[in-house]
């Protein structure tokens, strides 16, 4: 079964569930979908689920993201289902074009997340979720050539996210902190681990944003990266603006600085993501 068929099956399954579609959250407080398909910001998974579902609803979301860098282009298409404000499952297909060298690398990422405690808006404590991302490289040549130990791998993460109503001169503040156990090289695109050492490390990721009104948020994200292959892999960061005209649609524009990728330095560029809640 192809990835596309799997996505369709998930959507069909959800459409058959006898529950209402997600709308039960304050606008702008449901996560977008980050690069690996999980609900979150742009490059970091958050504790929020991707949809607006309350505890009696199910949401289905889809997104398309494109990042244009100096020597590469990353395109991601994905879908996610979030159920009863408790569980999120996601699938994402990443295509990494080596625009300077030629060729491309594809990777499938299957994700699951569960909200453990809290409500991002209404509880005094942050919302806390735990998640996994199983990553499966479809094009293994470059990963092998660079000396990676594996061509598939799993990330494990814990996130804490909180919205503080009116906290910044009356504007809503959102922050997120994620700790991720990973051995992925450039998110897995260049493989996992290194032939002499496939140890996991804990990486820290963080996000902060301010909602300027009900429909616009601005913020920044930071993501620590390992350097298993000794190629000088660097931390990522971005600054973003997100427009959320309704609970059904959002568009995010960001400036991303992704550092050195496979030895090519200063990979910076525009990040654009369109997301929508289908159900």
């Amino acid at each position: 079964m192809t990835l596309f068929q799997r996505v369709l099956l998930v959507i069909a399954f959800t459409a058959a569930l006898p529950v209402s579609a997600g709308s039960g959250k304050l606008i702008g407080t449901a996560g977008l979908n980050q690069l690996e398909g999980a609900g979150g910001g742009g490059i970091v998974p958050w504790a929020t689920l991707s949809g607006y579902d309350s505890d009696s609803e199910v949401s289905v979301n889809a997104f398309l993201t494109r990042v244009n860098l100096d020597d590469y282009r990353l395109q991601v298409a994905g879908a996610s289902v979030s159920l009863y404000d408790r569980v999120e499952v996601s699938v994402a297909r990443q295509t990494f074009d080596l625009t300077t060298l030629g060729g491309d690398i594809s990777q499938n990422i299957y994700g699951a997340k569960v909200r453990l405690w809290g409500d991002v808006v209404y509880s005094a404590m942050p919302q806390i979720s735990a998640g996994v991302q199983f990553k499966d490289l479809q094009d293994e040549a470059i990963a092998n050539a660079l000396g990676s130990a594996d061509t598939s791998g799993t990330d494990y993460y814990v996130s804490a996210t909180k919205v503080h109503l009116g906290a910044v001169a009356g504007y809503n503040l959102v922050w997120n902190l994620t700790a991720r156990m990973t051995n992925a090289n450039q998110m897995g695109l260049l493989g996992f681990g290194q032939t002499s050492d496939d140890d996991y490390e804990v990486m820290l990721e963080g996000s902060v944003g301010v909602l300027l009104n009900r429909n616009v948020a601005v913020g920044a994200e930071y993501r620590q990266k390992p350097d298993n292959l000794g190629l000088g892999e660097e931390d990522w960061w971005d600054v973003f603006v997100t427009y959320i005209p309704s609970k059904s649609f959002n568009v995010t524009l960001a400036w991303a600085e992704l550092g050195s990728i496979a030895g090519a330095p200063d990979q910076n560029g525009i990040y654009l993501s369109l997301g929508g809640q289908l159900w």
């Binding site: 039960g24 209404y122 503080h164 109503l165 009356g170």
Partner: protein, 138 residues
């Protein structure tokens, strides 16, 4: 001498009043604006059948008066809230998260229609938010 001291004391006390920070209540626009918000809120509820159902058989005038009191109290307006507790009021309704959150959207609509600026809306929501746990699923 006593008269001088009294005058100085009076001036000092008055100066203290002038420099007191404004309450959220007064920034919102006081009683007139809160009345407008609550009346708008009732109009929103009347147009939303799912939420209107919760109000069936209730005394709307009492609801308006008590909610105004509550907003005044939480925003530092100095009112005394004389209604029942949130648990008592919402007991037996079994309000779901979905319906509660929909009602928050209605309150936001009500504030939008009363031209309450975005920052003041958030600050008021922040004052009301902790009561949610007392209202859900009872």
């Amino acid at each position: 001498m006593v008269k001088l001291l009294s005058s100085v004391l009076a001036i000092v006390l008055l100066a203290g009043c002038a420099s007191q920070p404004q309450t959220l209540y007064s920034e919102l626009g006081g009683e007139a604006k809160v009345t407008e918000i609550v009346n708008n809120f009732v109009t929103e509820i009347e147009q939303e059948p799912v939420i209107l159902a919760y109000f069936e058989g209730s005394d709307i005038d009492r609801f308006i008066a008590k909610f105004e009191e509550q907003i005044c109290m939480v925003s530092g307006g100095g009112c005394q809230y004389t209604g029942d507790t949130m648990e008592q009021v919402h007991g037996g309704m079994n309000i779901s998260e979905k319906d509660f959150n929909l009602t928050v959207d209605l309150l936001i609509n009500a504030m939008d229609k009363a031209n309450v600026p975005h920052p003041l809306q958030n600050r008021l929501l922040n004052k009301l938010a902790p009561m949610r746990s007392q209202m859900l699923y009872r």
